[in-house]
Amino acid sequence: MSSHSVTSRTFDRNARAALADTQLRGALRHATSLFGERRLAAIGTVDDWEGLRTRAREIKDRTLAQLDRYLEEFADNAERAGARVHWARDGEEACAIIGQIARERGVRTVVKSKSMASEEIHLNAALARLGIEPIETDLGEYIIQLAGETPSHIVVPAIHKTKRQIAELFVEKLGIPPSDDVATLTEAARAALRQRFAQADMGISGVNFGVAETGTILILENEGNARLTTSLPPVHAALMGIEKVIPSFQDLDVFLKLLPRSGTGQLLTAYQSLITGTRRAPGDEGPEELHIVLMDNGRSRVLAHPTTRQSLACIRCGACLNACPVYQQVGGHAYGSVYPGPIGAVISPQLFGLENSSQLPYASSLCGACRDVCPVKIDIPELLLHLRSQVVEGDDAPQAKPLERLSFAAYATLMERPALLRVATGVGRLAQRLLGIRERVGKQGGVTARLAPPLGAWTAWRDLRPLAPRSFRDIWRTELRDAPPPQRIPAGVATRADRSGGDGS
């Protein structure tokens, strides 16, 4: 799927294309169900998972309610430890800051570890415009970069690709002999990237958590590329969304229990790097310079209401993607945003503007699976409804959907007036009988499937239930209300539960 023509404005079209891609759907089914199983097994190792989720959310809520204070504390402590802290109001400013750091130091190649924030602001493109070559070093990101694509999952960027596709890519780009052995492919990437690490003048990483109390940044990973990125080159720049701050060092305990279990089903990822400032003595390891870029880019706006503010509690574990029946079918690219899935459907419109992604709040069945798995208890369905109401109440909405408004107004009128409803359904029944269409209503390819647009857009995928010959109210009034109560079923009589193997006694 080309990432260029896909935008979050056209979710419906993107989704249809994705649904037709059987290879994609196979890969997604495999990955999301495996993630689901692993996650369940991992959370079983925690005594009080619910309690842990509640604590995490409380910490996040408390921090967000005083975000200004905690950010200042974080920045002051990080600088005391030797880091330089830069503030960026938006993505453009963040790109400019990092670009300037690189240019001033004559940087030619940059190694990067996975950072969704850098995807969000299209940092790679900005660096390339300055003549600086950014190299993604996380295996998944590297694959995506070689293929010229965008990530389709926030934890496993190349989740949509099969190993055969990756093998072909490596044959073409790395010149390796054909192989679809995963270990061989991994080895090829390791060898290619080692050279890039050795050459790089600067490393760029994201940040999973920033600790206000100590000015420490924490980066989680499995491959070791983030450790190399943050310690091998002489300069390290870490891009951090302002929502990543947490108050104390000890709070890490809660989040380190939740994040790997929810994300990959691990008790801990292979590596956590806790970085506090720069090297302390000349002979020490690690970069000479550490730059932390604190980026707003639409986040502060979201603080203005408790419903929207909760989206800043997200720790980007990806569990809601794996659990989402919509994501499971269409994958990440259909959302047309760097943040796909349920969390993407709520943060993309909030960060990048509702007008650019007005379809995303509808890319959900509101089943609640995302809310149930979320380690920080974000009520994504509540947020989706909140955003939907903003879409509907948007300035141009009344003109845009007059028919829809009319239908719902008529529906409300009927529902509020029982007498009117009785008359209307009576008329409906009569028409149904006279036209002899009861048998065909509600069948596949039945009458309603062929309604003219705009109603046809609705009924093409759903069918109208035919009206029952008699209403329940009618049956109740004439037969049930005064009938004697039903007798208890005597023991020994077969019930349906018995036959289906249930406990019928």
């Binding site: 975000l67 310690s231 801990l268 506090t276 408790p306």
Partner: protein, 265 residues
């Protein structure tokens, strides 16, 4: 005002403004809104991939002894564990690992207290020992040897602190990482380990510039979620645990030049 000062002010001001805007909604929202838990809705959780109560997953009986639990978790993530007593046994074990790894060049961290043991093992295994290897040298080393200051039983994790030992590259760049650990350095939980690391830096002092938690060798599942071991970091992680009270393994955590004694038992 510099750009950075201006940006700092403007971001903080935006945060304060939005939080003030939110204030009238906050109380009402907190009252009205308690997100329903799956249990509230009487749902069968695994069906939804939901948060299962921990009772629904069979919890394996874990060893009671923290060191044994550490071993259990470490082996579950493809690390190896051996317990030795006495410097001869330690040298012999290191030699065995070096030989099985086919080690030719070995890099050692700056932890002086293990230098003698490592020298002995390298000599016997016929491997060259590189001291103070630069990152560039390390790309040509097969094995890196360091100590670990702490371990975590709950997760099978090693904790390395740069304040006590320069470890970053030795434990990362060569194919094989051997970590020496004192048996009495095993913490029960992640929370305990964080507390100790934090307490290691005295009040008002900053923690180590780099604290690294290591749980097993480097790994990836980025290709079809198939596990591959050894991507950018080591392919093998060997933890050699030295029995407490053994004079051959001085205590890297209680390095007298850096750290104060702690209340470990």
């Amino acid at each position: 005002m510099t750009r950075n000062e201006e940006a700092r002010r403007s971001v903080l001001a935006a945060i304060r403004r939005r939080l003030a805007e939110s204030a009238p909604h906050d109380a009402a929202h907190a009252q009205r809104h308690q997100p329903p838990t799956p249990a509230d809705r009487g749902m069968s959780l695994p069906v939804l991939n939901g948060a299962a109560p921990s009772t629904s997953v069979a919890v394996e009986p874990l060893p009671r002894d923290p060191l044994e639990r550490f071993r259990y978790r470490l082996e579950a993530v493809a690390g190896t564990f051996t317990l030795v007593r006495g410097s001869d046994a330690l040298v012999a074990e290191l030699e065995r690992i070096l030989r099985s790894a086919g080690a030719r060049r070995v890099a050692v961290s700056e932890a002086a207290e293990i230098r003698a043991v490592v020298e002995g093992a390298c000599e016997r295994a016929g491997a060259e020992l590189i001291i103070d290897a630069s990152p560039r040298d390390l790309f040509d080393c097969d094995v890196g040897i360091s100590t670990a200051q702490w371990a975590i039983a709950e997760t099978g994790t090693l904790v390395l602190e740069s304040r006590l030992e320069r470890h970053r590259f030795v434990s990362l760049i060569p194919r094989v990482h051997i970590a020496l650990l004192r048996a009495d350095r095993v913490c029960e939980t992640l929370g305990d380990a964080l507390q100790r690391v934090r307490a290691g830096a005295a009040e008002g002092e900053v923690p180590s510039a780099a604290i690294t938690l290591i749980t097993g060798p480097s790994r990836t599942s980025d290709i079809e979620l198939t596990l591959a071991i050894g991507v950018h970091g080591p392919q093998e992680l060997h933890v050699v645990v030295v029995e407490p009270g053994d004079a051959t393994m001085p205590d890297a955590t209680a390095n007298p030049t850096h750290s104060q004694p702690d209340g470990l038992t």
